[in-house]
Symmetry: C2
Subunit: 249 residues, 2 copies
DNA sequence: AATAATAAGTAATAATACTTAGTTTTTAAA
DNA sequence: TTTAAAAACTAAGTATTATTACTTATTATT
């Protein structure tokens, strides 16, 4: 895996660009505000990027140059902590926004982002977005709601890390991943390494492996290589039922 | 401590109401957008509430009726978890907003809020705020930025809970509280119970007590009843320096 | 002022999680 | 295809944290 800088990726405009008007991704916040934004040159100013599996397209600490909207594919968003240890903040699916935190705290990204599979991203520059946000209250309001939703999710995760034991967090995470990405033939649509599960859950690889091993023995999950399938979703839900919440996708 | 409902508190309009135009609180987001909002009837539609120390003014799960802006005082915002155990999401100071997460997920508050000292709050109804946000892009944009900042803070806390040991988290928290609320005569301006420190840090009372005891022995902090003072701020910072970050206030 | 309740503190024990050290399997590179 | 590297797996040992059981001090109530 080579580390491409955001800048070099930025210039990699491909002939597969699709304008926002004809894009089929209905969950995208830009798409949903297209009527409001239609008088703006804004929607013609995006760049569409093809990102290979494993490719990093946002470097932590790099200057914020824009927001990425996931047109297709899956992405993990992470922060690097002590000793280079990675913490996965969230997984992003189609229609979701990456790099949005840079709007708040200044000029650099506080996160990194890597594609988990081949992905197509639409990138809008920060300056352009700021301008159009300041012109379009409806769009601004929708962006605000997006952030409010992200904040709720983040705080649910804070609670999970504070009050759940590791096994509970693992159960919670499997339910979340399953709900967010769905399953095919009984296996969750996003194969992740044990390390990635650990980085998301805030524990070690070995702990994940140990808990998966136990869950497999207890017939709650099944594994085929990196693919994980949930066999008994109710039992998994029961693991966390005392906590009375699920992470929203 | 009696639990007043938000509704009854809501009606408790006092003669000490001050209009936004003459309010001296310069950090308030409404105040900062006053020029933009001046044509709106909006700023005359707030309610000013006097909240006693220990009084709960937001009940988790209650319908969202508005946002609270802290004119004066200090507040803790919490979520209730397993077995009624409380998790403190954050502390809020003057000029800060409470209840803002209700904008994202629907009709009820996902948090509770209690005044840590006598506090004065300005409350704007959700409907009114939505209307004015949809009319004023500058204000909407500023609200969006506020949420983006809150999201960054929340994610820093996620990272802290994932990767720091309890002692490190305690050091981090003391630095944060000290920075946010300041000190007088060598003691942090917000006396908290050991339970509250624990609820914020995501550990048990006894663990807090144990770590405070150790930090006192090592001359890093001093305690007078519930008041805590930092004696050696550099040593405290050194406890978390390997993690390369501070929680922003 | 006296009493009751709660919070702070301490020590010991139990439970949980992390780390280390290996082996086996899978994936990537040559 | 072979080899090397990385990931997955397992077990054992160590460290951290939570829980339990008290005592003491402080705060709230009567």
């Amino acid at each position: 895996m080579t580390l491409n800088t955001s800048r070099s990726t930025f210039q990699n405009k491909t002939p597969s660009s699709v304008s926002c008007e004809v894009c089929m991704n209905k969950t995208c916040l830009i798409k949903r505000n297209l009527q409001t934004l239609s008088n703006s040159k804004f929607v013609n100013q995006k760049r569409t990027l093809q990102i290979k599996k494993g490719q990093q397209f946002i470097i932590e600490g790099a200057p914020v140059n824009g927001l990425y909207f996931v047109k297709q594919g899956k992405v993990k968003v992470f922060r690097t902590g002590i000793n280079g240890k990675e913490h996965i903040v969230r997984f992003a699916n189609e229609g979701e926004i990456i790099g949005h935190r840079g709007f708040g705290t200044g000029d650099s990204y506080s996160i990194g982002a890597i594609a988990l599979e081949h992905s197509v991203l639409c990138c809008f520059s920060k300056q352009m977005l700021q301008d159009v946000l300041l012109e379009n209250p409806r769009f601004s309001y929708d962006m605000m709601l997006f952030y409010a939703n992200e904040l709720n999710k983040s705080e649910a995760k804070v609670k999970s890390l504070s009050q759940m034991m590791v096994r509970e967090r693992v159960a919670d995470m499997l339910l979340y991943i399953n709900r967010k990405f769905g399953s095919t033939n009984g296996f969750i649509n996003l194969p992740l390494s044990r390390k990635e599960y650990a980085d998301y859950t805030g524990t070690s690889d070995e702990q994940i492996i140990r808990i998966f091993s136990a869950l497999k023995k207890e017939k709650l999950i099944i594994a085929r290589g990196k693919k994980i399938g949930i066999l008994n979703i109710d039992a998994l839900k029961k693991e966390i039922s005392a906590h009375n919440f699920f992470l929203d996708s």
